[in-house]
C-alpha cells in the first residue's frame, strides 16, 4: 500500500512561492517570539534587577567608604594630637628615670610601692609613696608644674607632708602612675 503525503499547493507570483514564504515568515515569527520570551526577556529582566542592585550596592559602598575616610581622618587627627598621651599611658613606671626627673627639684630618698588597682576598667593605677628632701617648697611647685611633661602620666596626691629637719624639708607625698591595662 502506498502512503500519500499531502502536498502543499504551490502558488507563485512573479516567480515567488507565496505559501512557502508565508510558512517561513510564520516560522521566523515563532522562533523570534520563542527566543524573546525564553532567552532575551528574562535576560533583560535579570539585567535590570542586577543593575539596580549594583547601583544600590555601589551607593552603600560609596557611603561606607566616605564614612570610613571620615573616621580614619578623625582617628589620625586625634592620634596625632594626643600622641604624647597615648605613648605615655603605655609606658611602665621606671623608678630610676623618675629619680633623675625629680633630681632637678628635690633629692629623692625613697620610692615605696603601695598598691596596684584597676582604674575606670581600662587603666591600671600604681600607687607609690615618695619621700624626698628639698630646700624650699617652691621646688615642689615647680616639680608638680613640670610633671605634665614627664614621660609617664603621674598624679601627685594626698597625703602631702612637709617636715622641717636640720635646715631641710623632708617631703612625703603619694604618687599615682596611670597606665593602659
Amino acid at each position: 500500500m502506498k502512503l500519500k503525503i499531502p502536498r502543499i499547493p504551490k502558488i507563485e507570483m512573479f516567480g515567488i512561492d507565496i505559501i512557502k514564504n508565508m510558512l517561513f515568515f510564520t516560522l521566523f515569527v515563532v522562533i523570534f517570539l520563542f527566543l524573546l520570551a525564553v532567552i532575551v526577556a528574562p535576560s533583560i529582566k535579570k539585567f535590570k534587577e542586577t543593575k539596580k542592585e549594583y547601583f544600590s550596592s555601589k551607593i552603600k559602598y560609596d557611603k561606607s567608604e566616605t564614612e570610613l575616610e571620615k573616621k580614619t581622618y578623625e582617628y589620625q587627627k586625634l592620634y596625632k594630637e594626643n600622641k604624647r598621651i597615648i605613648f605615655a599611658l603605655k609606658r611602665e613606671f621606671d623608678k630610676n628615670n623618675f629619680k633623675m626627673f625629680s633630681d632637678k627639684y628635690m633629692k629623692l630618698t625613697s620610692i615605696k610601692d603601695k598598691n596596684i588597682s584597676v582604674y575606670n576598667k581600662e587603666f591600671i593605677k600604681k600607687t607609690y609613696i615618695i619621700t624626698a628632701k628639698l630646700n624650699t617648697p617652691v621646688n615642689f611647685y615647680k616639680f608638680v608644674d613640670n610633671s605634665k611633661n614627664y614621660k609617664n602620666i603621674i598624679k601627685i596626691y594626698f597625703p602631702i607632708v612637709f617636715k622641717a629637719k636640720n635646715g631641710e624639708i623632708n617631703l612625703l607625698y603619694k604618687l599615682e602612675h596611670f597606665k593602659v591595662k
Partner: protein
C-alpha cells in the same frame, strides 16, 4: 535513454529557502549573542556587588574599630586632663596654704590630706596665731582645733588640726 542536455545538480535548498534559513539563523544568533552579552554583564555586576558587599562589611568593621579607638583616645585624654587639673589644683592648694602662713609664724610640720590639715609650728604669741593664721583657716575649714604649748623662751609651739566636712 539518451539526452542531449547534461544533468544539472539539484540544489538541496532553493535560493529563497536558503535566504530564509540564513535570516532566521542570523536573527536567532543575534538574539542569543545579545542574551549572552547581558548575562556577561550580569556576571560582572554580580561580581562587583559581591565585592561591594564584602567591602562594606570590612569597612563597617573598620569604622567600629576606629570608633572604639577614638572613644578610647578621648577617654585617655580625659583621664590625663583630669590628672593635670588635679596636679594644678593640688599645687595651687599647697601654695595658697603655705602663703597663708604669716612671717612671725614658723612651721615645722604640715600634713595635708584631702579634707584634713595638720599644722605644727612656732608662734611668738597666741595672739599672732589667733589674729593672723586662725581666721583664714576658719574660713576654709569647718572645724579647727588648736593646742598651744609654751616654750622656755616664752614663745608657743602650736598644733592645729583642721577638718573640712563636705556637704552631703
Amino acid at each position: 535513454m539518451y539526452s542531449f542536455t547534461k544533468a544539472r545538480k539539484k540544489p538541496l535548498f532553493a535560493e529563497d529557502t536558503k535566504l530564509w534559513l540564513i535570516f532566521i539563523g542570523a536573527v536567532s544568533g543575534l538574539m542569543i549573542f545579545f542574551s549572552l552579552f547581558l548575562l556577561t554583564k550580569i556576571y560582572f555586576y554580580q561580581k562587583d556587588i559581591k565585592n561591594f558587599k564584602s567591602q562594606i562589611v570590612q569597612n563597617r568593621k573598620q569604622i567600629i574599630d576606629f570608633t572604639q579607638k577614638i572613644a578610647f583616645i578621648k577617654k585617655e585624654k580625659q583621664l590625663v586632663t583630669e590628672i593635670e587639673v588635679n596636679n594644678e589644683l593640688l599645687k595651687d592648694g599647697v601654695k595658697n596654704l603655705l602663703d597663708l602662713i604669716p612671717d612671725p609664724i614658723t612651721l615645722t610640720n604640715i600634713k595635708i590630706e584631702k579634707n584634713y590639715l595638720y599644722i605644727y609650728g612656732v608662734t611668738p604669741t597666741k595672739d599672732v596665731y589667733n589674729v593672723l593664721l586662725l581666721p583664714p583657716l576658719k574660713s576654709i575649714f569647718t572645724q579647727t582645733k588648736t593646742n598651744f604649748y609654751q616654750m622656755d623662751n616664752g614663745w608657743y609651739r602650736f598644733e592645729s588640726i583642721n577638718i573640712l566636712k563636705e556637704d552631703k
